[in-house]
């Protein structure tokens, strides 16, 4: 896998090399703050199990000190009339779609940050305010962020949200995989409240195995695709469904990590500062020569 994607980047960056000297063979690895542990955790979302009770939305708000309201009010299914996206008031939302194959029940899809293995936000952030942790979570640091919103432009899933109505200390809001809870050995709030076990928390490797088994056991129930296994280089959250992922508003993405191309260009231009320093030396040389020539010309005239 990594060998293949590496070749791909080199191929793409060879094009760029036409204009930029000294392009290095840097790999697609994200910055130093991306710790990809073998035992990183993830969640498998089985949308064929989800009943759209939206208790996860409530639990998420409670866990993140957001106004959550009454749990009863989440029984209102009218919210499904419009597609909703996570924002600064709700870090996760459930959307409902028409039934898939082998069932006449609607398909409910929980949406939140996918916690990519090679996150675009971590690579893009101007100050490195995002971190991919050992346990799989991608979190954001309020003390560093300058509010430039480049993470939002970069995210392939369009997840980070910004508090546009705040004049001071607007935050970037997104699912943090309940980093504070899992640190204490607790489950993420959404996983722990789910009444039908649509969400399975475990190591990513284990979850891929479980997902494969489910598809194998019940091929009529599932589309043969684990969304997130390979998309943008793999994500910590993965999905199983009974219908085409495109119909459920999952973006169609390739298997190369989102930051791959930009990082190989970036590291190429700045390979150990050789290209900028060489350019400086070259221009200095030209300046010295042209100046010298002019002076020699003038001396001859005298």
């Amino acid at each position: 896998m990594s060998g293949k994607s590496r070749r791909d980047f080199l191929k793409k960056s060879a094009l760029v090399g036409a204009g930029i000297a000294g392009l290095s063979t840097s790999s697609a690895k994200a910055g130093p703050k991306n710790i990809l542990s073998e035992d990183r955790m993830g969640v498998l979302v089985d949308t064929t199990v989800c009943i759209g009770c939206r208790q996860c939305e409530w639990a998420c708000k409670e866990a993140h000190d957001l106004p959550a309201g009454d749990l009863e009010s989440y029984k209102n299914r009218e919210v499904f009339d419009n597609m909703r996206r996570p924002d600064h008031t709700a870090l996760t939302v459930v959307n409902e779609y028409s039934p898939g194959k082998s069932s006449n029940l609607p398909v409910d899809v929980k949406v939140q940050c996918m916690h990519c293995d090679h996150p675009a936000c971590v690579s893009a952030c101007i100050v490195g305010a995002f971190t991919k942790h050992e346990n799989g979570a991608v979190t954001w640091d309020t003390d560093m962020c300058i509010g430039c919103r480049y993470c939002m432009a970069a995210c392939p899933f369009q997840i980070p949200a910004f508090e546009y109505d705040k004049a001071l200390n607007p935050k970037i809001m997104k699912c943090d995989f309940c980093y504070d809870r899992t640190k204490e050995g607790k489950l993420p709030a959404c996983v722990s409240i789910c009444p039908v076990e649509a969400l399975t928390y475990g190591t990513r490797t284990e979850l891929v195995k479980i997902a494969r088994e489910r598809i194998k056991k019940d091929p009529d129930r599932y589309v043969d695709h684990i969304y997130g296994e390979y998309e943008v280089g793999g994500t910590s959250w993965m999905y199983l469904t009974s219908k085409d992922f495109a119909e459920l508003d999952f973006p169609k993405l390739g298997n190369n990590p989102a930051p791959g191309v930009s990082e190989s260009i970036q590291h190429g231009i700045f390979a150990y500062f050789v290209p900028p320093v060489s350019l400086y030396a070259l221009l200095g040389g030209i300046m010295w020569m042209t100046k010298r020539r002019k002076e020699l010309d003038e001396e001859e005239k005298l």
Binding site: A120, V127, L283
Partner: protein
């Protein structure tokens, strides 16, 4: 010694005209909306949302602003590095345009970021894999370099003319001495800054193109290409001279000066090859990636792309090939304006039009507040330019050549 047959002087002209009053009104209008942004948040004056995090301010104030300030480093390279002294007469006004341009780019960033009071964070918090970090650091350093490059103009204005009021007049002599020392130091070291300015410009002009690459499929394939950094650099280089011509002719007109057509025509003759190289890469990239299929569709993207390439590159390219155009102040102005327009549209296209987020229910169009702030910044820039050329020796008046002066010497060569 070299013979610099130019003599920049503060232009003698009155500051206020009806046009200037109009600009002040536009600037004040922009400031009113800026107050809204600082008191009630970005959402209160812009149409930005979670789908469209970047809009007019990033596309025009920052991206186009950086590109259109490219006249600074292109003329510095031509005048000081390749040492074509005949262009020295326009180097100073190009430098002033770049200095003001980048100042307003920095202001544009300042008002667009949510936490403006943390704008200094990139200085100590580094993320080497971020293209934006590269742009940010380079622009900060380059802005400093531009101020340093401008300092000799300030010292020249005040040396021997320091006249502080009242009790401060005792300081006249020490200040004068200080200025002279500064001037001497600067003229010995200036070459370091001039080369640094060119290197920093090539770096961040290209990295500005790397910015949107990470958006991947969210960006329309007509613009999304791994050679974006190269295209941004080439277009910045080809807009440098047109911007100088554009600005010189407007300044000449507004200040009642005779345009320096002999220099502008020669400058203009270099534009066609530069535009040609840019066009070749742009079209070549289109054919390699086979994106011309998107031009058969009729939508905003295809129309904007056609306008950008046809009016912004192809037509001015053809115009600059004609001697008649190069000799005529009117035609060279039109051709230069088209290139400026083309690069402006290109940056808007790259950052706003091409960006199609996956879950947007409606497309983005800048709000009245966003447009007001952008126009306000442009008006303030023009006013600052006018104030500076009326008070500092920036613009050279033809036929007034006096003592030659080598401003930028290289240590070791006498």
């Amino acid at each position: 010694m070299s013979h610099d047959s130019y003599n920049p002087v503060p232009v003698k002209h009155k500051f206020f005209t009806p046009g200037v009053v109009g600009l002040i009104i536009i600037a004040v209008n922009g400031l009113v909306f800026l107050m809204g942004r600082f008191f009630f948040g970005i959402g209160s004056v812009t149409n930005l949302n979670n789908q469209y995090p970047w809009g007019l301010w990033i596309g025009v104030d920052v991206a186009a602003g950086v590109a259109l300030a490219a006249g600074g480093f292109t003329t510095a390279a031509l005048g000081h590095i390749i040492h074509k002294e005949e262009y020295h007469a326009i180097v100073r006004s190009a430098l002033l345009t770049a200095m003001l341009g980048y100042t307003f780019v920095a202001l544009g960033v300042f008002v667009d970021i949510g936490r403006w009071y943390f704008i200094w964070h990139p200085l100590i918090m580094w993320n080497g894999s971020s293209a934006l970090f590269e742009v940010g650091i380079c622009v900060m350093i380059y802005l400093t370099v531009l101020y340093i490059e401008f300092l000799p103009i300030v010292t020249e204005r005040f040396i021997g003319r320091v006249n502080l009021p009242g009790i401060l007049s005792k300081l006249n002599k020490p200040v004068d001495k200080l200025l002279r020392a500064l001037d001497r130091g600067l003229s010995k070291t200036m070459f370091v800054f001039i080369i640094a300015g060119v290197v920093l410009s090539t770096l961040h002009q290209s990295s500005l193109g790397t910015l949107m690459i990470i958006a991947g499929p969210k960006m329309h394939p007509l613009w999304q290409t791994p050679i974006l950094p190269l295209l941004f650099l080439l277009s910045a280089i080809s807009v440098g001279f047109p911007m100088v011509i554009f600005e010189s002719l407007i300044a000449a007109r507004s200040l009642g000066l005779k345009p320096e057509m002999h220099i502008l025509s020669r400058l203009g003759s270099m534009i066609a090859p530069l535009l040609g190289i840019y066009l070749a890469f742009k079209i070549g990239d289109m054919f390699i990636r086979e994106t011309f299929v998107y031009l058969t569709e009729f939508n905003t993207a295809s129309v904007m792309f056609t306008i950008e390439v046809l009016f912004g590159v192809i037509i001015p390219l053809r115009m600059f090939l004609s001697t008649k155009v190069l000799k005529s102040p009117l035609f060279i102005f039109i051709a230069s304006s088209l290139v400026v327009f083309g690069v402006l549209i290109n940056r808007i296209n790259n950052f706003v039009v091409a960006y199609t987020p996956p879950y947007s229910s409606s497309s983005y169009f800048p709000s009245y507040g966003e447009i007001s702030v952008t126009l306000g910044f442009v008006a303030m820039l023009v006013l600052a330019y006018r104030f500076i050329v009326l008070n500092f020796p920036v613009i050279s008046l033809p036929g007034k050549a006096t003592a030659p002066k080598t401003k930028y010497t290289i240590r070791g060569i006498k």
